[in-house]
Symmetry: C2
Subunit: 339 residues, 2 copies
């Protein structure tokens, strides 16, 4: 029920996903049953009429209430226990679903995921990990919007969970971690970044030092290819939204001035299309919770479902939990093992 184009986009996205993903995978649509049923009927009678064969793998889970995009997360979480957001995330917590996907209120999804799925030991906050297309290989950027004011320790936590994600979902061995800053040297950056740099040097991760805005565009720096870029959610979100909006801007500039066909350009720049990845996992909670853009199209939802499936199949959640447990300093670890 969440997102700017609900329920049409999530329901259509679910049908498209089922057409691509083989059984026994099933999708549960959480929300007002009557609304969802009539939306399914409308789509199957209309533009998605060829997908009637996947209908029996769609299950409707009743949730009468909705958290609005403008609701304050903490308030919404307490006051709307029967919202599609809370009911859906609780199904993952209760083992009734393997993953949750939403294009709804991001803050509420983060709060509900943290509360019901629980944070991994060793973390103080979860992070959103977003894939940035670059001139070379895609780069994982985190946090891209969950946490605006971060401590140096939290940036190190993001590096740890990002490394595991890059390994499991992007297939990178010993992922290289860059710290987003405004110069390569360790002494460049704001106070938090400078302290995080020192902590990352001692983290045991494959830390390649500071990376700059330009390296986010190329995916590579003097020290080699970059797999993960760590930053606070304020900078990460500004850069992400800037990037998402640039593709149409640039297509317009090029089309106008070089008299080129917009369709050709759009296809050439399809990697920059935010719908291509569809959703970003909330990393650091005990369960798969995929955050999609409020403006997600059916194609974006379909791709977000694929991200959820890959996250589940690769056992990403357990890997992150295990890696964090290994890295918790001995004085914090419950069993007092040598760190």
């Amino acid at each position: 029920m969440g997102g700017d184009f609900a329920p049409q986009a999530p329901v259509a996205g679910a049908l498209l996903a089922l057409a691509e993903l083989p059984a026994p995978l099933e999708l549960q649509l959480v929300g007002a049953t009557a609304v969802i049923e009539s939306q399914i009927a409308a789509l199957l009678a209309g533009e998605l009429s060829s997908l009637a064969h996947v209908r029996d793998r769609l299950i409707i889970v009743e949730a009468p209430d909705v958290i609005a995009m403008t609701d304050k997360p903490a308030v919404a979480l307490r006051s709307r226990p029967n919202s599609s957001m809370v009911v859906g995330i609780k199904r993952v917590a209760d083992g009734l679903a393997d993953a949750f996907i939403s294009a709804g209120n991001t803050g509420a999804q983060m709060a509900a995921s943290t509360f019901h799925l629980k944070l991994n030991a060793g973390l103080t906050r979860p992070a959103i990990g977003t894939i940035f297309p670059t001139a070379n290989q895609p780069v994982l950027v985190l946090d891209s919007g969950a946490n605006v004011d971060c401590s140096p320790q939290e940036l190190v936590q993001f590096a740890r969970i990002g490394a595991t994600y890059a390994q499991d979902l992007l297939g990178r061995s010993s992922p290289s971690i860059g710290l987003l800053s405004i110069g390569e040297e360790a002494e460049k950056g704001n106070a938090v970044v400078k302290e995080a740099h020192q902590l990352l040097l001692q983290s045991g991760l494959n830390f390649i030092g500071n990376v700059e805005g330009r390296d986010l565009a190329t995916g590579i720096c003097d020290r080699g290819p970059i797999d993960v870029v760590v930053c606070d959610g304020f900078v990460g979100n500004v850069v992400l939204k800037f990037y998402e909006a640039l593709a149409p801007t640039l297509i317009g500039m090029v089309a106008d001035q070089a008299q080129l066909d917009r369709g050709t350009l759009r296809r050439a720049l399809h990697q920059l299309d935010a719908d291509e990845y569809g959703g970003a996992p909330l990393l650091g909670v005990n369960g798969v919770s995929i955050i999609s853009h409020g403006k997600s199209s059916p194609r974006a939802i379909k791709n977000a479902i694929r991200v959820a499936q890959r996250a589940y199949d690769s056992d990403m959640t357990a890997h992150i939990r295990r890696r964090l447990a290994e890295s918790v300093p001995s004085h914090e670890a419950p069993t007092g093992s040598a760190a």
Copy 2:
């Protein structure tokens, strides 16, 4: 003598600028006289042989020392009083030059400009104002790299100096000011941004609220066109460098996938070329000090000289000083006038 391609790029850029800008404008090249003279001779004997007629408008000012790109600003300022950077800026302070341009060490240029030209009353720091091309009109972004950790009050100072710059150099009447954040609502953003939002509401400026990364790409938001975007120098610098590196990245993507000619694309995206603006003024000091990229080409230097000329001709420095004096709260103003 500063920048990655000195002395070749600054000397060539000066010759190119003189060819475009009519007398009585003269340029002073500050540095090691013998090195500069042989560089001029080499260029006039070679690729710029058609520019011999501008040679008599080039004056050499001896400065035997150089501040390296990696020198620490505060140390360099004290230990190298005879560097081209310090000698050049002092000429502006002493009324022997109308503007200073450098592609050298940015931190040292900021420190020397602040020390010798002096900050305007009402400011605690200067800011770098950079022009971002957008899908619509260009937008002034400040600070784009001078100050990494800023107070809410400093963001308001940037808004005041940015408004004057947008009026004088971009010709915008009553410039609209946006505060860079991660959501439109006043309560979105990090702690500093949230407090700055409240201060901007009371500033008397044409404050249009928070703007997001996407608005930086389009130059427009729900509340209309954006003239000035205010942010701290960490975020501003990350986004600036990301943008600068994207043009070649995107040209590559489009050329490879749509089989288009790179030259055509480069011309179509010429607005994204950092050389097009050439340099950004350090705003808030009593004199024109233009900061160019370390990798500036001769064309970038030439365009930076044009930026300097426009800044001087429009009397930007005096306007900023006056506007700040008007806006200083009465209890801070030296004469106790009603604010």
